[in-house]
């Protein structure tokens, strides 16, 4: 009987068998990474908008308060995208001829809405309520990041469930006094954890068990 295989196959064969374990481990890791990647979540990717609206300019530069436009944020689940009217309040006077703002004026003339692209988009089975978060001292910044530094708006966080859970499990790490909710670049006056715990009592933040119950977010 003559040899079927070349000498080298021995080493090769062993590598394939014992290497398999590492390959599987690597694939699992890679899969998980992909699921958390910006490709998957689209976090930090600026979105195309009909009008290149710059939060950096309006919120950052001119220091307009978030609530001037996002009127629903304290009262409703939906923070509200401002009606064209709100834009026109100012832009009927300033930049009233700038071509980039034409879509806005057009909308105001025709009465057709401006079709903005959603930036922070949760799945339909998640019921997020802005008002309760804002009223309990969760700053805009916490989820939306430094909007005042975004020329074109992007989604800051992954918006994935485990990201939500981080705060729902440890509210003390993010809570801030109500008055600072819309502040950008807020720095706690002292130890955040300590302040957070104090605010949790003050604002009667519910227990972690309650905050992590499924029906808190899913119905």
């Amino acid at each position: 009987m003559s040899q079927i295989f070349h000498h080298s196959t021995n080493t090769f064969a062993r590598i394939t068998i014992f290497g398999a374990i590492f390959v599987i481990a690597f694939l699992t890791w890679a899969f998980d990474e992909l699921n958390r990647s910006a490709y998957e979540t689209r976090a930090t990717v600026p979105r195309e908008q009909p009008v290149p609206f710059s939060h950096a300019h309006h919120a950052g530069g001119m220091g307009i308060d978030c609530r001037y436009c996002h009127t629903g944020v304290e009262t409703s689940s939906f923070a509200n995208i401002p009606p064209t009217k709100t834009c026109m309040n100012c832009h009927s006077q300033i930049w009233s001829t700038s071509p980039t703002l034409e879509p806005v004026r057009a909308s105001f003339r025709t009465g057709d809405s401006i079709l903005w692209t959603r930036v922070n988009d949760l799945p339909d089975f998640v019921y997020f309520n802005h008002s309760i978060h804002v009223n309990k001292g969760v700053g805009c910044e916490i989820c939306h990041g430094r909007v005042d530094k975004m020329p074109l708006t992007w989604q800051e966080a992954s918006l994935q469930m485990d990201w939500c859970l981080e705060c729902h499990r440890h509210p003390e790490r993010v809570l801030r006094p109500r008055e600072f909710v819309t502040t950008m670049g807020y720095t706690p006056a002292g130890d955040q954890e300590e302040i957070g715990r104090r605010l949790m009592n003050e604002y009667h933040i519910r227990s972690t068990r309650e905050l992590t119950s499924c029906s808190t977010c899913h119905r």
Binding site: M1, I4, A13, F18, T212
Partner: protein, 178 residues
């Protein structure tokens, strides 16, 4: 002239008894680095060639323990630490419910380590082996029995060893090239 290095010399037998006897003889003669080949397990060879001990049981035991621990701790971590949820009013740490998976994981790990251990201890996979150079070695998986004294053996001698094998009434003696 110096013959080119070979793997060893092999003798072919046609029944287990002669093989066992031959092996015993060779060992008595002082040969150590030798190997017997047969189409089925022959217990006698184990004691003749002193093959009693192997580490497999230990490997399997360790594998089993690892599996068991993995199984239980996984469940404990997930239900008690990672995301404690009230399921049907049962306690978070419902250990009786965890027994099954713990058990299954034990078996799984043990079995896998048994097989990997087997391969490791047999030095498998080894698709290439000098013995395969012997033309009639194909019959070793059918009805023939081989005894091979390897060149690596200190007593090995290019001429004497084959002669010695001839004395064990083999069917045939042949060299095993590298």
């Amino acid at each position: 002239m110096i013959a080119k290095p070979i793997y060893g010399v092999t003798a072919e037998f046609d029944n287990p008894t002669t093989l066992v006897n031959a092996a015993r003889a060779a060992r008595e003669k002082g040969y150590r680095k030798m190997e017997a080949y047969s189409p089925f397990p022959i217990e006698e060879l184990n004691e003749v060639l002193h093959l009693h001990k192997n580490k497999l049981p230990l490997i399997v035991l360790l594998g089993g323990i690892t599996g068991g621990l993995t199984g239980y701790l996984l469940q404990y971590y997930i239900t008690v630490w990672n995301f404690p949820i009230n399921v049907g009013g049962r306690p978070l740490h419902s250990w009786p419910a965890y027994i099954i998976i713990t058990f299954e994981m034990t078996i799984l790990f043990a079995a896998i380590s048994a097989v990997l251990g087997l391969l490791a201890l047999c030095g498998l996979p080894m698709p290439y082996h000098p013995m395969f150079n012997v033309p009639r070695f194909a019959t070793a998986s059918r009805n023939r029995f081989f005894l091979c004294i390897e060149a690596a053996d200190p007593l090995f001698d290019h001429d004497k060893t084959p002669e010695f094998l001839e004395t064990l009434e083999p069917k045939e003696v042949s060299e095993v090239a590298h």
